[in-house]
């Protein structure tokens, strides 16, 4: 070392940094779920580039399913290896936390995504275009809607098989999001899963303008929220001099010990902390779809291709609530007296707002969108509990809710008329007479949304409300049950429509799906009933996963 330095000492100065930049040590094993999914996404891109068009669909489906299953197996392996409890720790140079909540959420996201990919791959519902079986996605997303290029693409039987790698990228981001252990990783994960989602929203085969409009809205509002988040991160960095969760939490708890000379004017300034935390929370609440950051939800849910809506409603919510939990429980527990009243308010307006506005909806997808807002409020009630019960109840609720949502949207894809999916509520009249089974399955999902006992929705609702009540938020629970009652009204209204209204002569038909969608719906029903009848095992699982690593 010294000899090298001496040789060049005339014109160079030896850098004294080697100690400060350690060679990055990456725990590949612990990061394997994310790596598998992102790797498969890259493979998917290569498939698009290299394979002939005919075989792409099958190759992509195979790669996606195998990757998601493998990643799920990796999560199980990590959990079985104790990384969820005793060996929980920080990986990838402090960027990623591998702990109970992270693994539970990753497992949930992967299972949900696996089921969602089945609905993505469904090719029996849309009538064959020129002899080619097609899915819910545009023949050629880049072609102008209604233009010649589009017609040509349809005629040629193109399908957008790119959705598979795109959704894998999104899933990769979602896996990192709830595990992110510093604010920059959080932001990057957010962008990694958001950008593919914007694209996915825009590629519907039917009603393409509506789909593109929804993507545009989602993108613009999403960009806003990303900006808020980034600004908040900057302010928090200014306050704490670090972006790691533990570092910020330490500064909040004990004050800044070593003042970074570059940040001398800002470190420890409470104004920065408060504004920064508020902005970061806003960014996350946007993704969660909480009032008043919910404006995008109905439009995007309505416009996006229904399989994407189902995926988004389920997986994004899991990821975003995971990140929100970690942020509130790891970074900001020291200032919970500041954020709890605010989150109380947000939870109350979210529950009531979602439930009340949903009553007036006439489109099933918009109705489910507002219902998802109301559910975000219920979950927030559990988040606010700031107790171990709070964490586990939120985890349980997310798992229960995401399968119900996915199943419900899968059913929506089945009810069709000449213009594609018949999402207007009036068209659902008398569905129970035409196809009792489909209507009954949808009724099960609606009852689960409404939180009727013996469904997973009830167990979840009970868990979060119990956690909230035990943390002294009794009145929040009262507001919660009142908005549940309001919400029940519109779920019931759909059931009335399906079962007690006379079917219309020119009403929609129920398409017979391939085993893919059938399986997605069946998984939804089974999970809904299993978590409703015997929730103990999953509550235990969520309970064991209820400790964040710092």
């Amino acid at each position: 070392m010294s000899s090298v330095a001496s040789v060049h000492s005339l014109w160079t100065v030896a850098a004294e940094l080697p100690g400060k930049i350690p060679a990055p040590r990456i725990e590949y094993g612990q990061l394997s779920p994310t790596l598998i999914v992102l790797g498969a996404a890259v493979v998917g891109v290569l498939i698009e580039a290299l394979l002939p068009r005919r075989s792409r669909y099958y190759a992509q489906l195979l790669v996606s399913v195998v990757a998601l299953a493998a990643a799920f197996a990796a999560v199980i392996g990590l959990a079985a290896g104790g990384f969820g409890s005793s060996k929980a720790g920080i990986a990838a140079m402090g960027a990623i936390a591998v702990d109970g909540p992270a693994l539970f959420l990753q497992g949930t996201i992967l299972l949900v995504s696996l089921v969602a990919v089945f609905t993505f791959a469904e090719r029996r519902l849309d009538p064959a275009a020129h002899g080619n079986r097609v899915d819910s996605f545009a023949a050629q997303a880049a072609a102008v809607p209604g233009g010649e290029a589009e017609q040509a693409a349809v005629k040629a039987g193109f399908t957008t098989t790119e959705v598979f790698p795109i959704v894998l990228f999104a899933i990769g981001g979602m896996l990192v999001f709830p595990a992110a252990n510093d604010l920059l990783t959080l932001f990057i994960a957010l962008e990694v899963f958001s950008l593919p989602l914007y694209i996915l929203c825009a590629v519907a085969r039917r009603q393409r303008l509506l789909s593109q409009e929804s993507a545009m809205k989602y993108f613009l509002l999403g960009a806003f929220s990303s900006a808020f988040l980034l600004f908040g991160i900057a302010l928090l960095y200014g306050y704490a001099g670090t972006v790691t969760y533990a570092g910020i939490a330490e500064v909040i708890a004990d004050g800044a010990k070593q003042i970074d000379p570059a940040l001398a004017g800002t470190m420890g300034n409470d104004a920065l902390l408060l504004i920064g935390a508020a902005l970061v929370l806003m960014g996350l609440l946007f993704k969660v779809g909480a009032v008043p950051f919910h404006m995008w939800t109905p439009d995007v849910y309505q416009g996006a291709p229904t399989p994407v809506t189902g995926f988004m409603a389920a997986a994004t919510k899991v990821a975003a609530f995971g990140a929100l939990l970690r942020l509130l429980y790891v970074v900001l527990p020291g200032m919970r007296w500041d954020w709890r009243p605010v989150m109380w308010g947000v939870a109350i307006v979210t529950m009531l707002g979602g439930a009340i506005v949903a009553i007036t909806q006439t489109d099933i997808k918009r109705l489910l969108a507002y219902s998802s807002i109301a559910h975000a409020g219920f979950i927030l009630a559990g988040v606010i509990a700031t107790s171990e019960d709070g964490i586990s109840s939120v985890l349980f609720y997310l798992a229960a809710y995401s399968f119900v949502t996915l199943g419900a949207f899968a059913v929506v894809t089945l009810v069709r008329d000449a213009g594609g999916e018949a999402t207007h509520l009036s068209k659902w009249a008398g569905l129970g007479r035409r196809s009792p089974l489909v209507a009954a399955v949808f009724a099960v999902f609606l009852l689960a949304f409404a939180g009727i006992p013996l469904t997973s929705g009830f167990a979840g609702k009970f868990a979060v409300f119990k956690a909230a009540a035990q943390s002294g938020a009794g009145w929040l629970v009262v507001v919660g049950v009142i908005s549940s009652a309001i919400a029940a009204f519109f779920y019931i209204r759909v059931i009335v429509l399906m079962f007690f209204s006379e079917p219309k002569a020119e009403g929609p038909t129920v398409a017979v799906p391939s085993p893919l969608t059938t399986m997605a719906i069946a998984v939804g029903v089974v999970v809904t009933l299993a978590l409703g009848l015997a929730p103990q095992y999953f509550l235990d699982l969520a309970g064991q996963a209820g400790v964040f690593v710092r």
Partner: protein, 562 residues
């Protein structure tokens, strides 16, 4: 008695549940098979209910017998805990008794109309539409849930079935009308679904308010006992031993949460408005199911949960509840007098009767509460008799309006006769079962709250008015045009009505079997509430069920009059 290797209580609920699944699975074409299957399962349930009643020892130690207890959801402190006291035994027997009659009476109610099956636009898919199977499966599902909610001694377990039974009920009300609407099928369907939604929203709102209280109960027990529990026995024990203290304010809030749900279900004025709609629009067997079976869960739960979990708050709320019950009695009766629709009339009469039941429960006297329990059973039988006969009448004429009838007794004397007996039971004629219970309730109320007792007896007078006017207008007088040629009761219908009337007569003369079972449970409840009868010298308390209640009651009235 606590350890039974055979889970009798579970079996009693499981049989109708299995029956529901089996009935629903019968292929579309085999409607009759589905009906017989449902009847068979309901009879099997009745046999099991009889076994429960036989195995039950009225004088045995401990509040609950035939208990079962299994872990279920530890995280919520929930156990699968079943057990029956005398009140529950009586009500389970009532439920299991009525369901076969409900099924028999509704034998043809859910058959698809010939015209409808032809005109169905989606011809191909209609083969999967199986209303008949659905109708009977739903009835059995309701039976299973009602029985479980009578058996549950875990608050959470009770809540689950209390809420879940709304769903099959809702489909029964909304999906199957009595085809007697005056304005054609379409409007009838609209009114039906309105009634079903109203039923569901009222009860769901009540249930969700109760959910908040249930969660609150958990939070309090978790806070004070270390681990949250929903076990009724554990909570009552912890209370009496002083380990658990709700605090006055919390206890009152929790009580209100529970009571609200039960008052909607019962129903108590002013939360009653769903009942006339629901009973009016549904078929008469379903109406019987609502008022004679499902609503009893509400009054039963007041006795079992409100009083035992929150005795102090119950005493605190008693004045208001008594006044509301009194209003129910008078208001229900007055509106019944003014009704033009037979089924709505019976619905308002039921509201009046539920007022009596709640009056009896919250009078907090032995006579009052035994009377209320007897009332639940007797009201179930008498309303079933009246409503089912009314249903037969309505099916014949195709109208629910009183004005459309007249002179039926000349055309169909047996129908008119059974209708009269059902009506007389409803107005509590001495010699029929409801008389005893109504009298006990009034005496029980009078001994503590004389003024309320006196005002409530006006309800009896009004009952005579609405029943007799109903009979006079429909059955006597000149025979109306469309009533001519009305067939008398058929064999199936007689099989439904005759046993119910026999039972009314039997229990009217000899209620001892019932009082023997019920009284120890009532004493237990009152001991938990820590209430004693105002006049300790009254003999009927000292020897529960001894002698004829009517006689003992008479003594007391004489005493009270002094």
């Amino acid at each position: 008695m606590a350890d039974f290797s055979f889970p009798l209580l579970t079996a009693t609920a499981a049989v109708p549940a299995i029956g529901a699944v089996a009935t629903a699975a019968v292929p579309a074409a085999k409607r009759t098979a589905a009906k017989w299957l449902a009847l068979l399962f309901s009879l099997a349930t009745f046999v099991l209910a009889v076994v429960i009643a036989v195995r039950f020892r009225p004088g045995a130690e401990g509040p609950y017998q035939l208990t079962e207890s299994h872990a279920w959801i530890q995280d919520f402190g929930v156990r699968y805990e079943l057990g029956v006291d005398g009140i529950a035994v009586a009500l389970i027997a009532l439920t299991a008794l009525l369901i076969p009659f409900v099924i028999l009476a509704g034998w043809h109610d859910a058959d698809p109309l010939e015209s409808a099956s032809d005109s169905g636009s989606a011809a191909g898919s209609n083969s999967r539409w199986r209303p008949t199977q659905g109708f009977f499966a739903l009835i059995l599902a309701v039976e299973a849930m009602v029985i479980l909610s009578f058996e549950a001694t875990d608050v959470f377990l009770f809540y689950i079935f209390f809420e879940a039974m709304l769903i099959p009920m809702y489909f029964l009300i909304g999906g199957f009308g009595d085809r007697a609407g005056a304005h054609g099928e379409e409007q009838a369907a609209t009114q039906r679904s309105y009634a079903a939604v109203k039923f569901l929203l009222y009860n769901l709102a009540g249930g969700l308010i109760m959910l908040a209280a249930v969660i609150g109960l958990y939070a309090v027990t978790a806070d004070q006992l270390g681990s949250g529990t929903f076990s009724l026995q554990q909570i009552v024990e912890a209370r009496t031993s002083g380990k658990l203290d709700f605090g006055t304010g919390t206890e009152r809030l929790l009580f209100l949460g529970f009571f609200f749900a039960f008052a909607v279900k019962a129903p108590l004025w002013p939360l009653h408005t769903w009942l006339p709609n629901a009973m009016g629009e549904s078929t008469s067997p379903v109406a019987v199911l609502i008022t004679a079976v499902v609503d009893k869960v509400g009054t039963f739960a007041m006795l079992r949960f409100c009083l035992q979990l929150f005795p102090e708050a119950s005493s605190w709320a008693t004045p208001v509840i008594l006044v509301l019950a009194l209003i129910s009695v008078i208001y229900g009766a007055l509106l019944a007098v003014g009704q033009r629709d037979i089924k709505r009339l019976i619905a308002y009469a039921s509201i009046s009767h539920f007022g009596f039941i709640i009056l009896g429960i919250f009078a907090m006297t032995t006579q009052g509460q035994s009377g209320a329990t007897l009332y639940m059973v007797n009201h179930g039988i008498s309303t079933a008799a009246l409503m089912l006969v009314a249903g037969f009448l309505i099916t014949r004429r195709g109208s629910r309006l009183i004005a459309d009838y007249g002179g039926v007794q000349k055309v169909a004397p047996v129908l008119a006769g059974t209708f009269l007996i059902g009506g007389l039971a409803t107005l509590s004629l001495p010699g029929l079962a409801p008389f005893i219970s109504e009298f006990l309730v009034l005496v029980g109320t009078f001994s503590r709250y004389p003024v309320i007792g006196i005002i409530a007896s006006v309800g009896i007078v009004l009952a005579a008015l609405y029943v007799l006017v109903l009979y006079q207008r429909t059955m006597t007088g000149p025979v109306k045009a469309k009533v001519e040629g009305m067939p008398d009761l058929r064999a199936r219908e007689l099989v439904v009505v005759a046993p119910l009337i026999a039972l009314l007569l039997f229990l009217g003369v000899y209620p001892k079997p019932l009082t023997d079972i019920v009284n120890p449970a009532v004493d237990h409840t009152l001991s938990v509430v820590d209430k004693k009868d105002p006049k300790p010298a009254v003999r009927v308390d000292a020897v529960p069920g001894a002698g004829r209640p009517g006689h003992a009651v008479h003594d007391q009235e004489v005493e009270a009059a002094k």
